[in-house]
């Protein structure tokens, strides 16, 4: 069922409508087609003057409305050029008859591999930056180098206390005699002001390592002096024994034992 209506002055409005717009040619000869499907009449055969006149697009638009079926028809703009995206497409997808599922693994794994390589490089860079900034908070290498002192124990004779400078403080290394060791080991801990057994203060009973700063007001005690044969602070009269423990006088605490270790038989490292 096809109806034709004249609509010359309404032509601009029909362009945007959903109605079918014919090519405006007057149908003089209509070829037989299925009436439901064809909404646009085919071009007439132009054999006579009248049919030639009817074929000219000077008649104004005619709207053709069909009752059923798709109704959108566009004029034949055959001069429209479509952009060619071949240069942007993967080789595998350029052939329209090839199945994309056959090449999907190769295409995707390449993309993922590039992304993964970027991720690896980014993670490495991020780790380097973080490590760099965190390590800048640590002590500098020159400070760390000065923070340790190595002492040759063979240079200290038995019964002597030798003073070294360590981190700006005096450090006493005492080579104790057997007599001193047995005396200090047998001191009852309960009788002390700062109760510490001798074994808690020395690693090797022959060697006492203490910082030579009096715990009272920070004077440097004198070695091998005082009532207990250890150290004596001349400032206010604190007496320390041969284990560096406070025994008499105003000082509240024992002499401080720094972290130290015996690297081998004759070498001591403090720090």
């Amino acid at each position: 069922m096809t109806s034709v209506a004249r609509a010359g002055h309404l032509a601009p409005y029909f362009k945007a409508s959903s109605s079918v717009v014919s090519n405006g040619l007057k149908p003089t000869v209509v070829a037989y087609t299925a009436p439901e499907k064809v909404l646009v009449h085919p071009l007439p055969k132009t054999t006579t003057v009248q049919s030639l006149h009817g074929a000219l697009p000077i008649q104004g638009l005619k709207a053709v409305a069909g009752g059923r079926g798709p109704s959108h028809v566009r004029f034949a703009h055959t001069d429209i050029s479509y952009p060619d995206f071949t240069a942007y497409r993967r080789k595998e997808t350029q052939d329209p008859t090839a199945k994309s599922s056959e090449s999907v693994d190769a295409r995707q794994s390449f993309t993922y591999l590039i992304a993964g390589a970027g991720g690896v490089a980014g993670a490495y860079a991020a780790k380097s930056v973080v490590t760099h900034f965190v390590s800048s908070m640590a002590a500098a290498a020159d400070v760390l180098a000065l923070a340790k002192i190595e002492i040759k124990l063979s240079e200290i004779p038995e019964g002597k206390s030798v003073t070294f400078k360590w981190r700006g403080k005096p450090l006493f290394i005492r080579h104790r005699t057997d007599n001193e060791i047995s005396t200090e080991q047998s001191v009852p801990v309960e009788s002390l002001r700062d109760p510490q057994h001798d074994n808690q203060r020395v690693q090797n009973p022959k060697w006492l390592v203490v910082i030579g700063v009096c715990t009272h007001l920070g004077c440097v005690p004198v070695a091998n002096a005082g009532d207990f044969g250890g150290y004596y602070c001349p400032c206010h009269g604190s007496h320390y024994d041969a284990s560096g423990r406070i025994r008499k006088g105003p000082a509240p605490l024992n002499l401080e034992v720094p972290q130290h270790s015996f690297v081998d038989e004759g070498t001591l490292v403090v720090g």
Partner: protein, 59 residues
Amino acid sequence: MSMWATLNRSVFKKTSTFFLAATLGTFFFERTFEVASVAIFESLNKGKLWNDIKHKYEH
């Protein structure tokens, strides 16, 4: 199934395995990269480094 298909389907497709692979890859990449960098630096500075002149001062 080709190597790429195996890699794609078992590692890359899942975000969890993808990130795991990237993290593990970073460890090996870091080691390789740093060893290579040090080797290049030492070859460029051959003769100037402590290891090259140590024998003159230590005995």
